[in-house]
Amino acid sequence: MIHFRVDGRSGVPPYLQLVQQVRQALRMGVLDVGDQLPTVREVVAEVAVNPNTVLKAYRDLEREGLVEARAGHGTFVRRRPAGPPPTTHSRLGRSLARWVREARDAGLDDEAMESLLLTMLRSAEAADAAGGEATA
């Protein structure tokens, strides 16, 4: 079972925060196929959001095919999102953790690290877009 968090100030709509947290839990292997998601009442009592928000999030996940609602029983995980298995995520997470320690020792703060990561993502994208001819 997972616990949700909702940040009222993040600017990300609360239903989307719930969707993202379920996807993330599936990628990380915290949730597995057959697991039950918390009921609407449980989520609402725990994080004080509108029940309609939880229903909307679960409907979105259902439309994506990740979960299914079983009448009278609750909502269950049907499959994981496309992508590598959770073991890959945790292996990459560990190497990233080493990098974060190294960056912090070098004096980078969170903001500097985030913008460095974003820059690298952008340039990797640009390199992909340039394609094979650039490699010659």
Binding site: P13, V47, A48, P51
Partner: protein, 347 residues
């Protein structure tokens, strides 16, 4: 019928035991007439998907208008945030919806009936006034027992369970409880009526963050239990709370309606434009500019989406609920106040 104090005064209405009528308002409850045709118990179908619908609803006190030409619509099963500066007319609107105040113009339909102070109409409505009216010397248990005598439909057991779970003592005079505990008592009594519409007037204003969170989760849990059979209007200045629990919004300023609608739709209908300072006239030709703030170099515009064409000099961003609320409140504020936002203005 006697009140809980046995004095023979008209019995309290609405939530279990509000203290008294506001000065100048009719008592009403003493002489409930027979329900007129088409009022009283709302029938199925027709307008039934609306919990609240008002048309040019107006309340004047002498020459000054507390609420002018307010036309709103709130679908059933929603939690609707009610925001606006102090004195904007929020409490007046809530009092008009309960029948505690009578309109001087326009009309309202609440759960299909015209608001009035009679038991048939009030049975379905819970109302928690700003100051949480309770008898300070009586305990929560006394209030629950009084509520059972005053209401046909009354779920005292759930009120006790809820308060026990929150650790609110049932046997102590409510005057000795903390503000958060008193608010929970008021809310539990309002919910014990099993209302179909719950009107909450700034219930969390005086509470600390933890008490506020408990209050909100009690509210949302009741909403989940009712499975669509409950509509809530919650007035508050806490935008982050509203962002968390509300899916509908009413914004009042200067006694007038500024915005009313589904929050997702309202956010999708607006944009923030950030760009070099220049005359916004070009933007105004194709879009409604709700509010503009300027520094010597930069302009920030909140616009209502019009045509898809936007001057490429501006960077456009999605709007947050807080920005949206502030833009409309700022647009309605007096000029002296809105000058505060023109940081670094060169005169």
């Amino acid at each position: 019928m006697n009140g809980p104090d046995g004095s023979g005064r008209p019995e309290p209405r609405l939530t279990a035991v509000p203290r008294e009528n506001a000065p100048g308002e009719p008592a009403g409850a003493g002489t409930p007439g027979p329900p007129g045709p088409g009022t009283g118990t709302p029938s199925a179908g027709g307008r039934e998907h609306r919990a609240i619908e008002t048309t040019r609803l107006t309340k004047r006190y002498g020459r000054s208008a507390a609420l002018s030409d307010c036309s709103i619509s709130v679908p059933r099963g929603r939690i609707c945030g009610l925001v606006g500066p102090n004195g904007a007319g929020k409490s007046t609107l809530l009092r008009l919806l309960t029948g505690l105040a009578r309109p001087t113009g326009g009309s309202a339909l609440v759960l299909g009936g015209a608001p009035r102070q009679d038991p048939a109409f009030l049975a379905d409505i819970g109302y928690l006034a700003q100051d949480v009216p309770l008898y300070r010397r009586l305990s929560a248990e006394d209030h629950i027992l009084a509520g059972a005598r005053l209401n046909k439909r009354w779920d005292g057991a759930s009120a006790r369970t809820r308060l026990r779970e929150l650790g609110v003592p049932l046997d102590r005079a409510v005057g000795t409880l903390s503000g958060g505990q008193r608010a929970q008592v008021g809310l539990s009594l309002a919910l014990a009526k099993r209302p179909r519409l719950l009107l909450l007037d700034e219930p969390v204003a005086a509470l600390d963050p933890l008490a506020r969170r408990h209050f909100l989760s009690t509210t949302t849990a009741a909403m989940a239990e009712a499975e669509g059979g409950l509509t809530i209007v919650l007035s508050s200045h806490q935008i982050a709370d509203l962002e968390r629990v509300c899916d509908h919004l009413i914004l009042l300023a200067k006694s007038q309606l500024q915005l009313c609608g589904d929050i997702d739709d309202l956010l999708a209908d607006h944009l923030v434009l950030v760009g070099p300072r220049k005359d916004p006239a070009a933007v105004e030709r194709t879009h409604t500019v709700v509010h503009a703030t300027h520094t010597p170099r930069q302009s920030t515009l909140v616009i209502k989406r019009g045509s898809p064409l936007i001057d490429p000099a501006y960077q456009s961003e999605d709007i947050s609920l807080e920005e949206l609320v502030l833009a409309y409140m700022g647009a309605a504020a007096p000029a002296a106040y809105s000058r505060l936002s023109t940081v670094g203005e060169e005169q």
